[in-house]
């Protein structure tokens, strides 16, 4: 097989961290090549260099036999490199055709472009209407827009950064069909993921990155998911085990909770009903953008709902704001660490005050007790093994995993009656993720109710007692997590109820 792209000794350093250290590997023509690695392993930096967004400090690339050093994405695109981003580079207030035109060098007139879009979408099974506003599309549809944008330029190399993280299992199957079709036409694909099963079914070769270095190459179909994972993480993994516990009294009840989303492109919640018992972990799955953020806001008290829609230990709290809910034992940790769960430019001590000032009585008559708040912060850091030089460091100076441990720890140390957490391990390295899951399991076994909202199905299956799916703002009926199959979950994500 001839080589399309050769990387030779690519190195890129940022202050304090070497993101890529002499990375070398090849991608063949018509090959689906996996780039595997944990968060922070240097995958993004590497693809940014290939796509011309970042310049390597040293090392060289060769593309289709020619030296390749794109100075900007435009140059990379002209050479035949196209990229589908993990966080889509789309414009919500513009329509599909306009979005696609923006990603092309010389787009045709709008009516011709619309026709081309329809043709390509028919050919590859990527149904989309060119006149719709992107803001109104689902995550899966948005990805189709990105892919079509790439395909219209007849790329030789298609880079896909974590493409399945926003898709339902059925959508993943459709995507793989499209990718295989492209492969058959001779397009090479660089497929970045940390999902091992996908890589095993789809990719022919894999390069594993760890700490910025290539630590191995392999043929994924000859490996097991476990051996791949160990290559990626570098140590033997232990999956946390949930001890079987008896479920206790009902703690949190939602009854026909509805909430109109304030975001013009958000999802409104409709008649959400469930019950959470002491000692129970209820997992809520679903594709991003189906009401997860809204559900979190309704539970944390940032958005008020009908008083009777939410009750905590029999008390109606729908009309109470975040502080009174915390006082009553309902604590929460939202998905976005920087800017929502924590204030990026404030110290860890100040970030403790954010949710703990009233509940932990870290002051009197509104005056902050410096000593008490520092002690509280130190307790979080110690119990949850948060790696930081000190409590005066800002939240944004922590790595994703450490900050997530802090954010989750801050609530758990406060001994919640019910704890709601959205995407507890998103973008967190494997070691931190395991310890956070362990903490959630322990919290539940100590008699708290835990609600885990997540898009990571494996995670939900691992920790949940019961399981439900959010689809278009509606919640399916929770059922025992042991009895569901991935196919059933896929159907639920698509919005159909299973008996």
């Amino acid at each position: 097989m001839s080589k399309l792209l050769r990387l030779n000794g690519l190195t890129k350093a940022y202050p304090g961290v070497i993101a890529n250290n002499a990375v070398s590997f090849d991608i063949g023509t018509g090959e689906i090549h996996a780039l595997l690695g944990e968060n922070g392993a240097g995958k993004s930096t590497l693809v940014k260099m290939i796509y011309g967004l970042v310049k390597p400090d040293s090392g060289e690339m060769e593309f289709a036999g020619q030296p390749f050093a794109p100075s900007e994405p435009r140059a990379a695109r002209q050479s035949g490199v196209a990229m589908v981003f993990q966080h889509f580079s789309l414009f919500e207030a513009l329509n599909v055709a306009e979005n696609i035109a923006l990603g092309m060098e010389n787009p045709p007139r709008s009516n011709i472009l619309s026709k081309q879009i329809r043709e390509v979408s028919a050919k590859y099974g990527l149904t989309i209407d060119p006149d719709r506003l992107v803001g109104d599309l689902s995550a899966g549809e948005r990805q189709r827009v990105e892919i079509i944008r790439c395909l219209l330029q007849d790329p030789k190399l298609l880079i896909m950064d974590e493409p399945t993280s926003v898709l339902t299992p059925q959508e993943v199957d459709t995507l793989f069909i499209t990718l295989r079709k492209l492969q058959a036409e001779g397009t090479s694909i660089l497929y970045i993921s940390h999902k091992l099963d996908e890589i095993r079914t789809l990719c022919e070769h894999a390069t594993v990155l760890r700490g910025g270095k290539v630590v191995g190459t392999c043929i994924p179909s000859q490996e097991t998911a476990k051996s791949l994972a160990e290559m990626m993480v570098g140590a033997k993994l232990q999956t946390p085990k949930k001890a079987a516990t008896e479920l206790g009294q009902p703690l949190l009840k939602l009854e026909n909770l509805s909430l109109q989303s304030k975001d013009p492109f958000g999802t409104s919640l409709r008649n959400i009903t469930f019950m959470l018992r002491a000692g129970e972990i209820l997992g809520i799955g679903g594709v991003a953008g189906n009401g997860q953020d809204e559900l979190m806001l309704a539970l944390s008290g940032e958005e008020l709902v009908d008083a009777n829609a939410i009750s905590l230990k029999g008390e109606f709290i729908g009309q109470l704001g975040p502080t009174p809910r915390r006082m009553r034992g309902l604590l929460a940790a939202p998905e976005e660490r920087l800017g929502h769960a924590a204030a990026p430019d404030m110290s860890l001590t100040e970030n403790s005050l954010l949710t703990a000032f009233y509940r932990q009585r870290l002051g009197r008559r509104g005056f902050v007790n410096k000593q008490a708040s520092e002690n509280f912060t130190k307790a979080i850091i110690q119990q949850f093994d948060v790696r930081t030089p000190g409590i005066t460091n800002t939240a944004k100076s922590l790595s994703g995993g450490n900050l997530q441990k802090f954010v989750v720890g801050r609530e758990i140390v406060q001994n919640p009656t019910v704890f709601v957490v959205n995407q507890p391990t998103w973008g967190v390295d494997a070691a931190a993720a395991a310890s956070i899951r362990q903490a959630l399991l322990e919290l539940a076994s100590n008699g708290a109710g835990v609600l885990v909202i997540s898009q990571d199905l494996d995670e939900l299956m691992e920790v949940s007692d019961n399981f439900a799916v959010l689809a278009e703002g509606r919640l399916s009926k929770p059922q025992n997590a042991k009895g569901v199959t991935v196919e059933e979950i896929g159907l639920m994500m698509g919005g159909s109820e299973i008996a």
Binding site: K48, R74, F91, K262
Partner: protein
């Protein structure tokens, strides 16, 4: 009181004159905001344009050179704002205020020696037959050239934003600067140009005040027109044609209020003079009340600082 002396025809004709400074400033600010930049320094750029245009026109005797100088001067001033916000990543609200305070002071300093002078008069459109038509003539065909230019400018901006590639890129930058950067567009360069276009338009709006509307130089003569232009952009929901509607509505209120003063309505002048400002507030309230629609129309990156992370 004698309302019959208020002639509807002359009212409509003067309305356009009263509206044009704001129309020019607002269409410029619209382009700036579409690129995702909130420049609150319109008032400062306007008054700086007013004095630059005035000095150039008086010294050369040519109103045209006056307008060109006004556009160039205010665009140069806006470059200060562009450097602060785009390269030095300063807060846009504070930088805009600084621009206004600085522009007001600088204009007063430059205009010190030019108070009480009359500028050269600007030629008016004079078409045979058409300009002499009753009613329609004075309203449509007998204005100075800048009024027609301002309407043409709105049309050009509308076409640019809606139908051209560069207009699409400008809107994309205003919607999501990170995505635009990821696609390889020069966010900062585009924004600097948009800021300077806004500056040039505000400058011409100011010069229209000092050369045609008033026409003379007095300190602080913009009297909040720049701020009203900012409000008109909100009123227009960032749509070019609605800028004309907003500006003319505002012009109408101003003219009506002046006419009521002239015929001696039994309300003290001070209270009548509040009308344009109060109307602006009311308009803002009405247009902002529907939060969802307001957030849908406003450029999503408006006022946010962009710094490429690599």
């Amino acid at each position: 009181m004698d309302f019959s002396s208020i002639s509807i025809v002359s009212l409509l004709a003067t309305l356009m004159v009263a509206a044009t400074p704001i129309l020019l400033a607002a269409i410029g600010e619209l382009v700036t905001e579409k690129s995702g930049v909130l420049n609150l320094g319109v008032e400062g750029m306007m008054i700086f344009g007013a004095i630059c245009g005035f000095i150039a026109a008086v010294e050369t005797g040519s109103p045209l050179i006056g307008f060109i100088a006004a556009a160039a001067g205010a665009a140069a001033l806006s470059l200060l704002f562009a450097i602060l916000t785009q390269y030095l990543l300063a807060n846009q609200v504070a930088s805009g205020l600084a621009l206004t305070l600085f522009g007001l002071g600088l204009a007063a300093l430059l205009g010190h020696k030019y108070t009480g002078i009359k500028p050269p008069s600007s030629p008016k459109l004079d078409l045979p037959i058409l300009s002499d038509l009753p009613v329609i003539g004075p309203i449509l065909f007998n204005h100075d050239y800048m009024i027609y230019f301002s309407i043409l400018l709105v049309a050009v901006v509308w076409y640019f934003l809606k139908f051209t590639r560069k207009g699409l890129v400008l809107r994309a930058v205003g919607e999501n600067h990170d995505a635009a950067h990821a696609l390889g567009y020069k966010v900062i360069r585009i924004r600097v140009l948009a800021i300077m276009f806004g500056g040039a338009c505000a400058g011409m709006g100011g010069a229209y005040l000092s050369l045609i509307r008033v026409p003379q130089w007095t300190e602080g003569m913009t009297a909040g027109a720049g701020w009203i232009a900012l409000a008109i952009v909100v009123f227009a929901s960032w749509k070019p044609w609605r800028i004309i509607l907003g500006a003319y509505l505002f012009g109408g209120v101003t003219i009506l209020q002046l006419n009521l003063q002239a015929v001696g309505v039994d309300i003290p002048v001070s209270y009548l003079s509040m009308a344009p400002y109060l109307v602006t507030i009311i308009v803002l309230v009405i247009m902002s009340a529907d939060r969802k629609r307001a957030s849908l129309n406003a450029p999503a990156s408006l006022g946010r600082i962009f710094h490429a992370s690599n």
